[in-house]
């Protein structure tokens, strides 16, 4: 069956890049959730991951490096009927945009944040990113990165984010399941996706992840925040995947007086003439 989200365009990613799998998973997820392309907005920043909105049929807002989350938040506030996804790389979301990441969690807007975590700055050709392991060698960090890696899951759980998950680009089916739950979850949903960068990250390869990754099992209770935090610290010999934490709480849209009591931008009446004039000019 044709996927309405398919778009034929030239894709500027390296062959074998984990981004292809994430793209595929996202397109199938959106289609299996029966969304129409016009209902979905993808907001991205700058980077390899941030190119993703150009490769599927959706509404696109491609802004600045690090700045996708505030835009996504505002899009959702203006038009709550849209499915709003902020999607970018680890550098974009956790480094330059780290501040937005932390504070968006506090507000709990009903958006999904998908991070292609390749533990490197891909687009600028291989420098250490916030999630690179200590000692990661690059052309800039020639003697290895001196900083401890940023742990997005621990931070999100510590901040009581509404939904926190980790997927792997090497497993499209499972990634789809996670994305489905994240996108339909009311509130801030983080999906950190382990994404091998075959060109610039020779440490965290497909094999490296495969040897370590395992899924949280059915006994695992994602409602238990302390357990979730404990799980989020697990990294190294074993790397858990799946839904770490889930906690339903009022979203920004549900809490904020103006958004509850007044009509959203979407519902405001527009003067009929104004709309007609605008539409008619295309036929002149």
């Amino acid at each position: 069956m044709d996927n309405p989200f398919d778009l034929s365009s030239d894709i500027a990613w390296c062959p074998g890049c984990g981004n292809f799998a994430i793209l595929k998973a996202l397109k199938s997820t959106l289609s299996e959730l029966n969304y129409e392309p016009h209902e979905v907005v993808l907001v991205s920043g700058i980077g390899q991951a941030a190119k993703i909105p150009h490769y599927l049929r959706v509404n696109v807002f491609n802004g600045l490096h690090g700045r996708s989350i505030p835009v996504a938040f505002a899009v959702k506030s203006a038009n709550p009927r849209l499915v709003v996804i902020a999607e970018s790389g680890d550098g974009c979301m956790y480094g330059e945009g780290g501040n937005h990441f932390v504070h968006a969690i506090r507000r709990n807007p009903d958006i999904t944040v998908i991070v292609h975590n390749n533990q490197v700055y891909g687009l600028t050709k291989g420098q250490a990113s916030p999630t690179s392991e200590e000692g990661f060698v690059s052309k800039v960090q020639t003697l290895g990165s001196l900083s401890a890696p940023f742990n997005p899951l621990s931070i999100a759980i510590a901040q009581d984010a509404s939904f926190v998950a980790r997927g792997f680009a090497g497993d499209i089916e499972k990634l789809k399941e996670i994305l489905k739950q994240a996108i339909t979850w009311p509130g801030f949903a983080l999906v950190d996706v382990l994404q091998p960068c075959v060109t610039f990250n020779r440490v965290n390869t497909y094999t490296w992840y495969r040897e370590r990754a395992y899924y949280l099992d059915v006994q695992y209770d994602p409602e238990d925040r302390v357990k979730a935090f404990e799980k989020s610290l697990e990294w190294g010999e074993k790397i858990p995947l799946g839904i770490f934490y889930r906690h339903r709480k009022p979203t920004y849209q549900e809490k904020f007086y103006a958004l509850v009591s007044y009509p959203h931008l979407l519902y405001r009446e527009r003067a009929v003439e104004e709309v007609l004039d605008r539409e008619l000019q295309y036929f002149q």
Binding site: N62, G95, K125, Q127, A128, K139, V140, Q141, T142
Partner: protein, 400 residues
């Protein structure tokens, strides 16, 4: 090792980024803090290699954004270090509030800007919107025509910035990709000569001098803020003699003398094109071709845009009949681009002024050709012959 013009040094094949990285290596600053952004990344990566090879003693600080990069530079410079960095486009834009801190604290930081168009939409190629956006931030701005000039300017920038008459940060620009990624022959000086030229750094009021405690950046309201701005105005205006002196001294050790402006076939020129950066090379060719056809044309190249060398510009342009200014950035809603506005303002009081028109060109890396510049020169000739300007602002190389 080849001798250059009777002086020591050698010729290397370097692109603009590599030339600047090489100069930085020879300068051997105490601290470099930077964040990667195309087309600057290559410069910083090359410098990082020098760090790892132990060829410099620099503390290389990696950060999570350009805002932090400039903040780190400011901290290190206030502590008393010789500090350098590099950026481009939105990286420079993100530094914006910190640029003002650096200049008002009179910290002699040297920064290379690889000129790239500001978003949006996203573009990685050259225009001057980044540097021009920062033109009011209190930094000295030196433009380079090619990799050689980028190399030479960076070395001079250190000496200019640190001069006690100056004590201001300096931005040295090179056109993104056009200069930064094109390999040219670059004459480099010997390491010791560069060291001798820049000299040992003597910080003026370092935070690390614990016997003389100082305060940077306290609250400064309507009582004294204005006076402090007045002193900053004076400081940057006083830089001209230092920039010239350093340019001359650099000429003595390298055979390449620098001034605030460069003139090309200007002495008897009636029609002049004014440009900055790599386009000056293209403009020289256009001037040559029109000269062959008997046209009296010339080029005025602005090397130092901040401070704006008003007197020299008046001297160079007043005797001309017509001036075509090339602007590689837009001041939206303004009367022409930043270069045009400044030049018209400078010439306002001259008893006999040339006609002056402006051309926007090269935004987002659009190529500029010799023919475009010939067109600009012929257009200003036309204006002069008609005796009136029908259109002040034109476009070169634009699809319309």
């Amino acid at each position: 090792m080849a001798k250059v013009m009777g002086l020591t040094g050698k010729v290397m094949g370097l692109n603009g980024n590599a030339a600047v990285a090489y100069a930085m290596k020879q300068i051997n600053p105490d601290v470099i803090a930077a964040y990667p952004i195309t087309p600057q990344t290559d410069c910083v990566e090359r410098f990082a290699e020098y760090v790892s090879e132990g060829l410099v003693n620099t503390q290389f600080v990696t950060v999570e954004s350009e805002h932090s990069a400039m903040s780190a530079c400011i901290g290190a410079a206030a502590a008393g270090g010789r500090v350098m960095t590099a950026t481009a486009a939105n990286g420079l834009a993100l530094m914006w509030e910190m640029l003002y801190i650096a200049s008002s604290m009179r910290l002699p930081i040297v920064m290379m800007v690889t000129n790239r168009a500001l978003s949006g939409n996203i573009n990685i190629h050259c225009d001057h919107s980044d540097t021009m956006g920062a033109r009011d931030a209190g930094w000295i701005q030196l433009f380079s025509e090619n990799a050689q000039e980028a190399y030479d300017n960076i070395i001079q920038a250190v000496k200019i910035a640190e001069d006690l008459e100056v004590r201001l940060p300096v931005m040295v620009t090179q056109d993104g990709f056009i200069i930064s990624h094109a390999v040219e022959q670059v004459k480099v000086l010997d390491d010791d000569l560069v060291q001798e030229f820049v000299g040992a750094y003597k910080p003026a009021y370092p935070l690390l001098d614990v016997t003389h405690p100082v305060t940077y950046g306290p609250l400064d309201l309507f009582d004294y803020y204005f006076e402090h701005k007045r002193s900053q105005i004076e400081a940057i205006d006083n830089c001209f003699p230092v920039i010239r002196r350093v340019g001359e001294e650099f000429g003595k050790i390298s055979g390449r003398k620098y001034d605030l402006l460069e003139t090309y076939k200007l002495e008897d020129a009636e029609y002049v094109v004014v440009a900055l950066g790599s386009t000056c090379g293209t403009a020289k060719e256009a001037v040559n071709l029109l000269r062959e056809k008997g046209k009296k044309v010339g080029l005025l190249k602005i090397r130092c845009f901040r401070p704006f060398p008003k007197e020299e510009i008046i001297k160079a342009l007043v005797p001309r009949r017509g001036v075509a200014v090339l602007d590689r950035s837009v001041s939206f809603g303004g009367f022409g681009g930043p270069v045009f506005t400044e030049i018209r303002s400078a010439l306002c009081d001259a008893p006999a002024r040339p006609f002056i028109i402006d051309f926007f060109y090269g935004l987002g890396g659009r190529d500029i050709y010799v023919e475009d510049i010939e067109k600009a020169l012929l257009q200003i000739e036309d204006v002069v012959q008609k005796g009136q300007v029908d259109q002040y602002i034109g476009y070169l190389g634009l699809r319309e």
